[in-house]
Point group: C2
Chain length 110, copies 2
């Protein structure tokens, strides 16, 4: 289990990255995250749905009602062009971040 403070702010990127592979909806995306990390990271429902609102406001995703319904109605999300551009930036940022944290977390001399 991973402390969420580390991930904070990267949830949006996770969702964008998954949506970049094709439209999907909340429940499905949360299952994908769980699967792809072998259960190491499980996104909280509230975290995810608040991320959707945020990403929509920023214009990174758009939503449309799902036709195929099982239980409650689904809301599908689609990544926009701005969303794709933002994703790319975040992907590049992550590489730098990883190096920085890597270096600072283990107390190594240069």
């Amino acid at each position: 289990m991973i402390s969420s403070d580390v991930i904070r702010g990267y949830n949006d990127t996770f969702l964008l990255s998954l949506l970049n592979q094709g439209d999907s909806y909340g429940y499905e995306l949360s299952r994908q995250i769980k699967e792809k990390t072998d259960g190491d990271y499980i996104i909280k429902e509230t975290t995810m749905y608040s991320a959707f609102t945020r990403l929509s406001k920023k214009g990174y995703i758009i939503s449309y009602p799902g036709t195929v319904t099982q239980g409650k109605k689904r809301t599908y999300y689609s990544i926009t062009l701005e969303g794709k551009m933002h994703l790319k930036e975040k992907q590049e940022e992550w590489h730098i971040t990883r190096e920085v944290v890597d270096h600072l977390v283990k107390g190594e001399d240069k």
Copy 2:
């Protein structure tokens, strides 16, 4: 420049990691972070000093007044045994986190 939301919660670990190499004080630690990351990450003063309070309350560090003074009086910090244990946990956690984020950020199939 790295967005701080990514680093959030890892500032404590950075400071502990640096203190693990020897006692130090705020200003010096902030300079070390800047240097070690080649300016990619600069910790904000307020963030750092609030981290000290937090770490002290948790018993991960202890403080003592500095004798050598240049300008305003220094407060030195020392990592405790609990601090070292916590650091180790966080270091291990980081490795898992890195893999998880790595995997989710780039939209790869398994």
